[in-house]
């Protein structure tokens, strides 16, 4: 339909595996992020269940200490860097262009490259289990645990894998920022962008500024391990790593949560049939969180002995960051207040998000109090905190997004009955698993230890937690089944099933390759809603007559005789991004196995050069057009 095949030979029509490998379509790239992350979610979930089995009883015998260390490290690393962040990237890829009325992201091929590099880094990290041992120094990789050399490659996998993931993320973020700041549809001023896309911008900036700090730390770790430098050992200082890590690590937790907050901010207005209460507050509190997130890192290091002045300062800063966070909660409640709430699945998960996130936020505030944190640090209380924010917050938000946008991706609904089972099992299982950890932690159960002794009174709540974790597992099996089945057999949804407010609902489901037949002209926040509804004297929304799909033609998926066809040159598919990424991935493997690996590094460098040169010499669009 839109791809003009007359001028040049196209490698393949946009179907088949080759078309996915060479795709530069932001929607497909988003899909691939999502699917990869979902698979990784099950891998990391399995690791979690093994951890839970080990901890069910005192002196657990399921895992050795060594296996336990690898599992809890990889569980955390995978969940954060290969599940939650990429799911965020999946939604951003798919919806940023749709939200701002653009045909693609700013750099489609760089976007594909980011994805492939992410995929290869994922393979590198996960393959470590069978290639010499997985990282075992915690997701936080503290020195000197991380610089021990007895375990030949494990933390090299960490240093290399995380570094490459970082590079992929930085490129993706620069791409998103350039997209939002330069490619918005006419009339789409910054204060009309959907909140999700705003949060994506904040996240991108957080990554741009925090990942390089982590990158330096990872280089130092790698050099210490392989080139005998003395950053963390010798005359160096292990605390340097902690500072660099948390300077990244704290902004990172907002990287993880802000996309979910954005999703929920999209969903709650739609299902309350009211505009988001205090749109500018939600936007600015998101930005404030972004800024303040760089000033609180040392709250992870209270027990490292930074001295009372620093601790007090960071304590106060940490308490303050709860303020913009709280602002958002009030905005969501204010949106629901007095609204005509429809308890559809996306809304249920969103309400779950808000409730559980409040609990996690509150325990976070209790951590911010220094003397109190001395007791909580490195205990299961912290584990409870971050699972409430990350799982209760992040994962609930993303699942809400999946139920909300699945009709846009596939044209079909996810099954509601199965969805309800998923929701309730997940909610119950989640609370059974993680609420008891508050009690365990306050009773002194340490985290990151592979077993606990008898007679400490930890058994009961640990058993409850294990039962809960398997209920969560069950709920996600239902979800996976629902996703697989509904893709082909779900109830048909149409283009605008939820009576949506933002531009993605104005186009067909699934969207055409070029997104918009005609670039929309935007006049309001929630522009699509205003095309459908006017307000009467009392400010109530009245549906305008005769509008079915706004000003946009509804029959885009039939293709064919669309008059704008000839005007659109979508970027051509390209296999150079995957070549370049594969080259870098090969180099990554080489670096892990230094010094023998230098040969592999060399081979990888050659492949990378092939990719990069091919890439820069090939025209972006067929017919010699630039993008």
């Amino acid at each position: 339909m839109v791809i003009d095949t007359s001028k040049d030979l196209v490698p393949a029509r946009p179907t088949g595996i080759w078309s996915w490998i060479t795709t530069v379509d932001h929607k497909r790239i988003g899909m691939m992020y999502g699917i990869t992350a979902l698979v990784a979610f099950f891998v990391a979930g399995l690791q979690a269940l093994l951890i839970r089995l080990q901890l069910t009883n005192a002196n657990g015998t399921v895992l050795s200490a060594d296996a336990y260390n690898q599992l809890f490290t990889m569980h955390g690393l995978t969940m954060l860097l290969i599940v939650v962040m990429p799911v965020g990237a999946a939604f951003m890829n798919y919806f940023i262009p749709l939200h701002i009325g653009a045909r693609d992201v700013a750099f489609p091929r760089a976007n594909a490259f980011s994805f492939w590099l992410f995929l290869f880094s994922t393979v590198i990290l996960l393959s470590s289990f069978v290639l010499g041992g997985a990282p075992d120094g915690g997701w936080f990789g503290y020195a000197p645990l991380s610089t021990q050399l007895e375990e030949y490659v494990r933390m090299d996998y960490y240093a290399v894998g995380a570094q490459l993931l970082g590079v992929a993320s930085i490129m993706a973020s620069a791409n998103f920022i350039a997209t939002v700041f330069t490619m918005r549809a006419p009339g789409m001023s910054l204060m009309r962008i959907p909140v999700f896309t705003w949060m994506a911008v904040v996240v991108s900036f957080l990554l741009i500024f925090s990942l390089p700090i982590f990158g330096v730390g990872l280089f130092q770790m790698f050099f210490d391990r392989n080139f005998g430098t003395q950053f963390f050992g010798g005359g160096g200082d292990p605390l340097l790593w902690q500072h660099l890590f948390w300077l990244f690590g704290h902004p990172e937790v907002y990287v993880l949560i802000l996309p979910a907050m954005g999703i929920v901010s999209e969903i709650i207005p739609v299902f309350s049939r009211k505009p988001l209460f205090g749109y500018p507050f939600v936007v600015f509190s998101g930005i404030a969180i972004g800024f303040m997130g760089f000033g609180v890192w040392a709250h992870h290091m209270y027990t490292a002995g930074l001295g009372p002045v620093a601790e007090a300062g960071f304590g106060v800063a940490t308490m303050m960051i709860a303020v913009p966070t709280g602002v958002k909660i009030f905005n969501w409640i204010g949106t629901m207040w007095g609204g005509k709430i429809r308890f559809e699945l996306p809304m249920l998960f969103s309400i779950g998000f808000v409730s559980l996130f409040v609990i996690g936020g509150l325990s976070g505030v209790t951590h911010s109090v220094v003397p109190s944190d001395y007791q909580q640090h490195d205990s299961y209380y912290v584990v409870a905190h971050f699972h409430y924010v990350l799982f209760g917050g992040g994962v609930f938000g993303f699942v809400a997004g999946a139920y909300y946008w699945f009709p846009k991706w596939t044209g079909r609904f996810l099954d509601k009955r199965q969805g309800l089972w998923h929701f309730w099992l997940m909610l119950i299982g989640f609370n059974l698993t993680f609420a008891p950890m508050h009690i365990l932690g306050l009773n002194g159960m340490p985290r990151r230890t592979y077993r606990y002794g008898e007679g400490l009174g930890f058994e009961f709540w640990n058993q409850v937690a294990t039962v809960g974790s398997f209920i969560i597992g069950l709920s996600f099996l239902i979800f996976a089944w629902n996703l697989i089945r509904s893709r082909k057999h779900g109830e048909l949804a149409g283009d605008d099933p939820w009576d949506g407010r933002t531009l993605e609902w104005s186009i067909s489901s699934p969207p055409p390759v070029h997104n918009f037949d005609e670039i929309p002209v935007v006049e309001h926040v929630d522009d699509y809603w205003h095309r459908k509804y006017a307000t009467d004297e009392e400010g109530r929304a009245v549906r305008m007559p005769d509008v079915s799909g706004g000003t946009v033609a509804a029959d885009t998926d039939t293709g064919g005789d669309d008059s704008h066809e000839e005007d659109m040159h979508m970027p051509s598919p390209s296999y150079y991004p995957i070549v370049a990424a594969a080259g870098i991935g090969t180099m990554g493997y080489g670096f892990v196995y230094l010094p023998v690996g230098w040969i592999v590094v060399g081979i990888g460098a050659l492949i990378t050069m092939w990719g990069v040169f091919g890439w820069s010499l090939e025209p972006v669009t067929r017919g010699g057009e630039h993008e």
């Binding site: 620069a174 950053f231 659109m568």
Partner: protein
């Protein structure tokens, strides 16, 4: 928007120049944090020489000269950009080549300096000071090297007139990058060399 006459924005396509520039600025922001972290590391370890050689090895006159060379390369870069804006192909070529050459001279100076230091016993692993010093200046050198390669690529493209302002790498982007690398060096030279001696 760029001030140069933009090719007509046909078919609702975006003019790519401001897009590329935005991305480049964002990338440079990232680089600031990258170098900032390494400079902070250096400051932390500036006295951790393990009783071995440290900042007394620095040869300020020599490094001042090579810094001056790098500074001049920013000037030639500006001239290249100017010539390019005036559609002056020959000027563009000359100044691109001059910039690449000055960058190479700077790199040669750095290699010379490193060999001297290693000779005197300051290595990557001799002390935390050495680790931090070589990491910081080494990564900066790598940035210069990448810059030189991009300049040479531009020069090569300019030979048969394939240098456009609206596609892929362009003189403006390379210029931004080059000036940035230059500014970082001024900071490094001040903090690492001048303030330590």
């Amino acid at each position: 928007m760029s001030s140069q006459a933009a090719p007509v924005e046909a078919h609702g396509h975006h003019d790519v120049r401001p897009i590329r520039k935005a991305a480049m600025w964002v990338f440079l922001g990232s680089e600031c944090m990258f170098f900032g972290s390494m400079i902070a590391t250096f400051l932390l370890f500036r006295n951790e020489t393990a009783d071995g050689p440290g900042s007394e090895l620095f040869n300020i006159p020599f490094t001042s000269a090579s810094s001056f060379v790098l500074l001049m390369s920013s000037l030639t870069m500006v001239l290249a950009h100017n010539a390019f804006g005036n559609r002056d192909a020959r000027g563009t070529r000359i100044w691109l080549a001059a910039t690449a050459l000055l960058g190479t001279v700077f790199l040669a100076g750095q290699i010379f300096e490193f060999t001297e230091f290693v000779h005197e016993g300051l290595t990557l692993s001799s002390s935390s000071f050495g680790s931090a010093f070589y990491m910081l200046t080494g990564f900066h050198g790598a940035h210069v090297a990448i810059g030189v390669m991009m300049l040479m690529a531009m020069f090569y493209l300019s030979l048969d007139g394939r240098l456009y302002d609206d596609r892929g790498l362009n003189v403006e982007l390379v210029g931004l990058y080059w000036h940035f690398v230059d500014i970082v060096w001024i900071v490094i030279f001040t903090v690492v060399y001048l303030l330590q001696v």
